[in-house]
Structure formats: structure tokens, C-alpha cells
């Protein structure tokens, strides 16, 4: 990338309000996750019954929960969980989905028909219901819920990729490449994929946010991350029974989920503006 091009890219990033706010929030959560690997202000795994339901103080900025665990520390450690879920679930969807979408666009014919009908078909099953069924088969647990969410991401990416890839396959430069004797695989890798990458990246941010929401919902139902690992959905589940006496216990983890999803959605919007100016101008 030339110097001027990179400068204009950075200035476009700085100009997009969504990108700056979304990126800051996402960065902040990443820092929380990394810091919590080494240090948290209080205990996360130790049960200290005498310290239960402490009100916020200098020692416990957000107070403690029913087991005397530090709420702020649990929220910080929960960030690791949500980020892991997002990364793994989106990666499953990306690799399988983008692969299938590219294959459908390159092969056409019955391959495309089969892949598209299968993905249409999978949309007949509502996401959360499929995830519940998959975790029922695999058994509840963090890893299994990630797999369930990841599987559901596959058709989303397959559809998007195939749609955008088809548009690229119709371009003149692809025809020129075909005429010069390049095979479909190298055309896909050299021309199609780079040109649809920005759309895929934007969708990946949105799916990341959706994965965090889905994992929180599954953990809330008791099908996702199991104790003692802190997870925002799980914290919300535990807080619900205490809602009448200690409502703030239910407020914090939900706010953390909302903040993460808000940040990622803004980041996605910002990236769309930056990577695909044509799309943003249309809005």
C-alpha cells in the first residue's frame, strides 16, 4: 500500500464516528479480557460467604454476589468467555460458509443449487431453537454451545458469499482471467475472494455480536458455559432469582452484554462505511 493510500485509509477511519466509538468499546473489552488473564481486582473462583452481597466500596467497586465473589472481576473474566465464543463461532461460520459460498459461485449447476437449497432449508429452523437442539444432543457446556452457534453461522456466510461472488464472476476482469486460461480455483483466490472480503468482514463483525447474544441466551438457559466459569449470561441467570432483593446483580451482566454488542455493531457499521464507500453513500 502506498503512503498516500494508507493515509487516506486512516483518515477515513478517523472520520467515521461509528468506527471510532465502536472500535474504542471493542478495544476496551479486549483489554479487559487480556488484563483479567493475569489480574482481577477481587476473587472470581473463591467462595467467601462472609463477604456476600457487599455494596460497592473501594475494595469491591461493583460489590459482591451471593457467594462473595467480586462482581467487577467476574464481569472482566466473563469478557474472555464472550470473546472466545465470538471468535470460534464466527471462524466456524467463516471457514465453512465462505468455502461453500465460493464453491457454489465457482461451480454453478447442481452444486450451487444443492448448497443454496440446504442453506434455505436451515433457515426454516429458528436460530435459538437449533442451538438448543444441538446443545441437547451434544450436552450442555461452553464448547458445545460455541459449536451450535458456529454451525448456525455457516448458511449465513454461505449465502452472503455466494451472492457477492456471483456478482464478481460476471465482471470483465474475471472473464479476461478465464480467457487467459486460469483455472477456477486461482480465479476464486486471486480475484473473487479479495473483492468480496470487505463485505465478509462487515458481516463477521455483526455475526460476532449475534454470537455473543446467542451464547448469553444459552448460558442464561443453563445450556451454555457451566459454573464456575464466569459468563455474562450465566451471571444473569443466577441473578434472576435474587432480582427482588438485589436487582443490581441482574443489571451489571446485561449491561456488559449490551455494551459488547453495541460496540461490535457500531464497529461493523463503521467498517462498512470505510471498506465500501458505495454502500454507505446509498444509505
Amino acid at each position: 500500500m502506498s503512503n498516500t493510500a494508507s493515509n487516506s485509509f486512516i483518515s477515513r477511519c478517523a472520520k467515521s464516528r461509528s468506527f471510532v466509538i465502536g472500535g474504542t468499546i471493542t478495544g476496551f473489552l479486549l483489554v479487559c479480557a487480556i488484563v483479567s488473564l493475569f489480574w482481577t481486582p477481587g476473587t472470581v473462583y473463591d467462595i467467601v460467604i462472609k463477604d456476600r452481597f457487599l455494596t460497592p466500596s473501594a475494595d469491591h467497586l461493583l460489590g459482591t454476589d451471593q457467594f462473595g465473589r467480586d462482581v467487577l472481576s467476574m464481569l472482566m473474566t466473563g469478557t474472555q468467555n464472550s470473546i472466545t465464543v465470538g471468535i470460534v463461532a464466527v471462524s466456524i461460520g467463516l471457514f465453512a460458509g465462505v468455502g461453500l459460498g465460493l464453491l457454489a459461485a465457482a461451480r454453478k449447476g447442481w452444486t450451487e443449487e444443492l448448497i443454496m437449497r440446504l442453506s434455505d432449508f436451515s433457515f426454516a429452523f429458528p436460530a435459538i431453537l437449533s442451538a438448543i437442539m444441538i446443545t441437547a444432543i451434544l450436552g450442555p457446556g461452553g464448547v458445545n454451545s460455541i459449536i451450535a452457534i458456529g454451525i448456525y453461522n455457516i448458511p449465513v456466510f454461505a449465502r452472503l458469499t455466494r451472492g457477492s461472488a456471483n456478482a464478481i464472476w460476471a465482471r470483465e476482469y474475471v472473464m479476461a482471467a478465464r480467457a487467459s486460461g486460469k483455472n477456477k480455483l486461482s480465479i476464486t483466490l486471486e480475484h473473487v475472494l479479495p473483492n468480496i472480503l470487505s463485505i465478509i468482514i462487515v458481516q463477521a463483525t455483526i455475526q460476532f455480536a449475534l454470537a455473543i447474544l446467542a451464547e448469553a441466551a444459552l448460558s442464561y438457559l443453563g445450556l451454555g458455559t457451566q459454573p464456575p466459569h464466569p459468563s455474562w449470561g450465566r451471571m444473569l441467570n443466577e441473578a434472576q432469582t435474587l432480582m427482588f432483593l438485589h436487582p443490581m446483580q441482574a443489571v451489571y451482566p446485561g449491561a456488559a452484554i449490551a455494551l459488547a454488542v453495541f460496540g461490535l455493531n457500531l464497529l461493523g457499521d463503521g467498517l462498512r462505511d470505510i471498506l465500501d464507500p458505495r454502500l454507505s453513500r446509498k444509505r
Binding site: P126, Y220, L236, P247
Partner: protein, 316 residues
């Protein structure tokens, strides 16, 4: 046109058949033996075998699949393994909660979305537009089950205006039921409404830029008349598509929301049935949900043709 309907209808049937096979297979793979779950781990081998036979689970999978499907075609859903009552009895009670809930939240979310979306579009790039879109961005980010908990804390625990959960049953009267479903409906509708409002706004803005809108304004049609006569109808296509998809999400979303409010609807029925290994209930309810999704999409496709007659000529 009729060719399109016939093709679309065949796809619908094929999807339903496919869905039934997938659901049945999933239930076959699902670990856990219904007879063992009902009798408990201490049950004798003989008792388990007897119950397996009584439930008809000793037959081959193919036999049971066709038994299920032929039963369905005759309107016979079979009996719940766990409760020994016809599945329809369980489902009927649940539907009477989930369907009104889904309809209530749909009405709420569409009203919210159209009002906010149109207002924001009319005030494009003004402070009110930017503020509303900021709020809708927040609305999209909030997990609906958390919003549900917040609503309970605020309206049920603090203000005591509405019940925190549970369902009195339709015998208790419309008003009591309406009150019981109001908070869950708001929790479901806010997120959906926020998404729909954004779609409405951008769709309306896009149509405003069309030549025919400029022509209408140029020939002296008022802004309001242009909106109602030209813009709204054309802007409705993407809104309708998303609404169709959302209805599916809404039905599935009730699984979590019903859990928060302790409503014995379709979602809690499925969840309980999965835990009880009451596979026959799961199969029927999940197929029913998938069926509603497929039929909704079918209806949306038909509505396209009604809203936009130009689409009739082409194969959709």
C-alpha cells in the same frame, strides 16, 4: 403467476418433509432413553423393556417415522411419553399463550418501527434523526431477556403495576392475561422494533431518491400525499421481508422470554420436553415452529405480488 405459486408451494411442501426428517433424526441421535427417564435410574430392566414396548419405541426408526407422519396427516399427534396425555392437549394450552404473545409483540414492534422509521426519514440527518437512530442502535444491542429482567425490576418489583411473571389462564379474563403478556411483549418487541425502524428509515430514504417521487413532487403533489401514495408502498418490500424473518425469530425468541416470565408457552414446553426426553412432544412442536416459519415466508412472497404488481411478471 400460477406457475410461480405452484413452484413456491412445492418448495414449501419439500421443506416441511425435509424438516420432519431432520427433526426426527435429531431426536433419534439425542442421547437418553425416554423409558429410562420416566422410570428413573433404579428401574429394573424388565420394567424399562415393558415401557419401551408400550410407548412403541421398540419398533424400527423407519416404522416410527412413518407412523408419526401418517398420524400427523390424520390430525393425530400421539401421546406425550412423560405426561400420558395427548400431545395436542399440551400444545393447545401453550399455543394460547405463545401465539397471542407473538402477535402482540409483532403489532408493538411494527407500530414502533413505522413511527420511528418514518419520522427519522422525514427528518433525515437532523438531530432528531440522529438521536432516534442512536437509540435504535442501542435497542438492537440489548439482549431481550435482560430487557425483560429490567422491565420486571422496574414495572413489577418497584412500581407494582404489572405482574412479574406467570400466566393466569384465559378463564381469568382478557385484562388479566393482557397484563401478564404486556411486559414479555415489550421485551420481545423493542429489539425487533429497533431493527425494523432502521430498515424502514433507510428503505424510505432510498425510495425518496427515485425519479417517480421527484416527478410526483414536481407535478405539485404534497409531501404527505407523496409519502402515502408513492413512497410507503414502494418502501414496504424490504420492510416486509424483514418482518417475515422477524416473525420466525419472535416465535423462537419466546423460548427465552417465556423462561424469564415463567409463561407455560410453546418455548417452555419444548425446553421441558427436551429435558424429559419427551421426544414426541419435541418433534411435533419443533415441526410446528418450523412450519410456521416456512408458511410465513410463503405468505410474505405472496404479499410481495400484492404490494408490488410489477413483481408478478417475473419469476421471484
Amino acid at each position: 403467476m400460477s406457475v410461480f405459486f405452484a413452484k413456491r408451494f412445492l418448495t414449501l411442501l419439500a421443506t416441511l418433509v425435509g424438516a420432519s426428517v431432520v427433526i426426527f433424526t435429531v431426536m433419534e441421535i439425542l442421547p437418553g432413553d425416554p423409558a429410562l427417564v420416566i422410570l428413573g435410574v433404579d428401574a429394573s430392566e424388565d420394567a424399562i423393556q415393558a415401557l419401551t414396548k408400550e410407548l412403541g419405541l421398540d419398533k424400527s426408526a423407519v416404522e416410527r417415522y412413518f407412523g408419526w407422519i401418517f398420524g400427523l396427516l390424520q390430525g393425530e399427534l400421539g401421546n406425550s411419553y412423560a405426561y400420558k396425555v395427548p400431545v395436542w392437549e399440551l400444545v393447545e394450552g401453550a399455543l394460547k399463550i405463545t401465539v397471542p404473545l407473538a402477535i402482540m409483540s409483532m403489532i408493538l414492534s411494527v407500530t414502533l418501527a413505522l413511527v420511528i422509521g418514518l419520522y427519522a426519514a422525514a427528518n433525515h440527518n437532523k438531530t432528531s434523526d440522529i438521536t432516534l437512530m442512536g437509540f435504535s442502535q442501542l435497542g438492537i444491542s440489548v439482549p431481550n431477556f435482560w430487557l425483560a429482567v429490567l422491565l420486571i425490576i422496574f414495572f413489577a418489583v418497584n412500581l407494582r403495576w404489572l405482574p412479574p411473571g406467570g400466566f393466569p389462564g384465559w378463564e381469568a379474563g382478557f385484562w388479566a392475561c393482557f397484563k401478564a403478556l404486556l411486559l414479555p411483549a415489550i421485551a420481545l418487541a423493542t429489539v425487533q422494533g429497533a431493527i425494523l425502524a432502521r430498515i424502514t428509515r433507510s428503505s424510505v430514504l432510498e425510495v425518496y431518491r427515485e425519479d417517480y417521487v421527484r416527478t410526483a413532487r414536481a407535478k405539485g403533489l404534497s409531501r404527505r400525499a407523496t409519502l402515502w401514495l408513492h413512497v410507503l408502498r414502494n418502501a414496504m418490500i424490504p420492510v416486509l421481508t424483514v418482518m417475515g424473518l422477524q416473525f420466525a425469530n419472535l416465535l423462537a425468541g419466546t423460548v427465552v422470554i417465556e423462561n424469564v416470565f415463567h409463561l407455560p408457552g410453546l418455548g417452555s414446553t419444548v425446553l421441558k420436553a427436551i429435558n424429559n426426553r419427551d421426544t414426541i412432544v419435541v418433534e411435533n412442536v419443533v415441526l410446528m415452529l418450523a412450519g410456521m416459519v416456512v408458511v410465513t415466508n410463503f405468505v410474505v412472497d405472496l404479499l410481495y405480488a400484492v404490494i408490488d404488481p410489477r413483481l408478478k411478471a417475473h419469476d421471484l
